[in-house]
Amino acid sequence: MANPLKCDLCGKPATVHLTQIMNNKVHKVDLCEECAQTKGVTDPSGFSLADLLLKASLNPEPSGDVVRCEQCGFTQADFKKQGRFGCPACYEAFKELIAPMLGNMHKGTAHIGKVPRRAVARKSLYDRLTHLQDELDQAIKTERYEDAARFRDEIHQVKQAFDPKQEGVA
């Protein structure tokens, strides 16, 4: 046995191998006897592969800089400990950490389904703002100062239209 599979949770030699098929994608988890027992994999009353995948993907030690959510102060270490985020803005702060996990955990990586009307209104305002900002930058760059002044006023109007506190998450 040249390269025995290691347990995704503790690193011991794995003897239990699970396969789950979601949307024609194959997800594999390798576990040692002990972890399989404690995670209830062998228990017919049920276990959640999604939870396992979540924990397994958190296993590699985070290295280097400490990533911190600006809004709530949550760190990657906190996430590793709790498996939960600190606030909605954490999804932006830990984008890189979460992106590879989502594909393993879910059927897809992009939301399909219900969209809250108010959040969408906020989103379209946000998009408009980003667009205007680009236009403004471009106008300044090319020294079209009259246009720039117009864009600046428009940006001001849009910002007034919605609570600035709510921009962060959209």
């Binding site: 009353s45 276990f47 939960r84 909605p88 955990m105 389904g113 219900k114 969209v115 998450v169 959209a170």
Partner: protein, 361 residues
């Protein structure tokens, strides 16, 4: 008691109209929702949690669906009251043991409940007796849309509804059915079923959700994934899995009748005898006995009208309910005595099983 109204009005779970689906006891959908710019309950400070509760409980209680409903701050409830809410599936175990700033609003008919400051700011749930996934989804969709009028949800166009745990991201929806699968349990096929269901991306849990055992042969089947698939698609996929399980359960029942009918009838008959004459009954034992009686109803050994009685007893035989009806706090040994007494009363006029017509239609 603050929760007394729950016992005084008819509820979806304890008084279901007869003739509901034999195998699916209840259908439930829950949505996880959070408010933009606010720390999730697990990370929020005590004061933030209290402010969130105070703010949202008012909004939630003002919904038209909540008319004449109950809105409760968990801190004002006794342990027994919390336990009763858990036994009625109106709050989760997690909420009942939360550290403060937690609450729940419950509709008058107890078919909908909104938990505040559980894992997410809001956990909205709607449940109905029987196999009613679409109807439940429509009801909860309306409730959620109404709430969104006043609450500013945390939502990302790419990731969907933002939840404390990434496993709920996207739709934030968990649709589930509580299924009664005695024949699959008796014929030791449940492990195989659980594996197959897991492979299809659905989770299997016990009666009280995560980590609970499957006493009474009752299992909760739900979707595991929430991102990359619309609510309707998830419901469609879950429905087809549920239908397959129903088919397997029915096959297992037919097989039991074919190969060893007298052994099965013996189990049901003994269960009936114990419920009618037992003197000390623990709740797990009762769940298993009631499960057999329910199977007896499905097979035609008892009249159909008895099924809702069993479904009510599944809840009323739980420890919290036993103490509530005996008006006091009792230890587990005393409860077993009270539970046996309660069930002897319930089964005194139940009518003996008649197996003569079983399997002959």
């Amino acid at each position: 008691m603050k929760i007394t109204p729950l016992f005084e009005t008819p509820s979806e779970l304890t008084d279901p109209a007869s003739g509901k689906c034999a195998i699916v006891l209840t259908t439930r959908v829950r949505l996880a929702r959070n408010l933009a710019g606010q720390p999730f309950p697990g990370w929020a400070k005590e004061a933030q949690r209290s402010a969130m509760l105070a703010g949202t409980l008012v909004t939630v209680a003002a919904l038209p669906q909540m008319k004449k409903g109950l809105s409760l701050n968990l801190e004002e409830l006794t342990d027994l009251e919390k336990q009763i809410l858990v036994e009625r599936h109106l709050i989760s175990r997690e909420l009942s043991s939360s550290k403060g700033g937690a609450g729940v609003a419950i509709t008058r008919d107890q078919s909908a409940a909104i938990m505040i400051n559980e894992e997410d700011h809001l956990r909205i749930q709607v449940m109905r007796a029987g196999f009613q996934l679409k109807k439940v989804w429509n009801a909860i969709n309306t409730l959620d849309t109404d709430l969104e009028e006043t609450l500013d949800y945390a939502f990302s166009p790419t990731l969907g509804y933002l939840t404390a745990c990434p496993t709920n991201l996207g739709t934030g929806m968990r649709a589930s059915a509580m299924m009664h699968l005695p024949a699959l349990v008796i014929s030791s096929q449940m492990e195989k079923v659980v594996r197959a269901v897991n492979q299809l991306g659905m989770a299997v849990r016990g009666l009280f959700g995560e980590g609970s055992d499957a006493s009474g042969s009752i299992f909760q089947i739900s979707n595991q994934t929430t991102l990359g698939e619309s609510e309707e698609e998830i419901i469609k996929r879950l429905s087809s899995v549920l239908n397959t399980i129903i088919e397997h359960e029915l096959n297992a029942r037919a097989k039991l009748l074919e190969t060893d009918a007298s052994k099965l009838f013996d189990k049901i008959g003994r269960a009936f005898g114990i419920l009618q004459h037992g003197q000390l009954l623990a709740s797990t034992e009762v769940m298993n006995l009631l499960s057999l009686i329910r199977l007896g109803v499905d097979l035609g050994a008892f009249p159909e009208t008895r099924r809702p009685v069993i479904d009510r007893l599944f809840i009323e035989a739980q420890p919290g309910h036993i103490q509530y009806s005996a008006r006091g706090s009792f230890d587990s040994a005393q409860r077993d005595l009270l539970r046996a007494q309660f069930l002897r009363n319930e089964f005194a006029g139940f009518g003996a099983p008649d197996f003569s017509g079983v399997g002959k239609n």
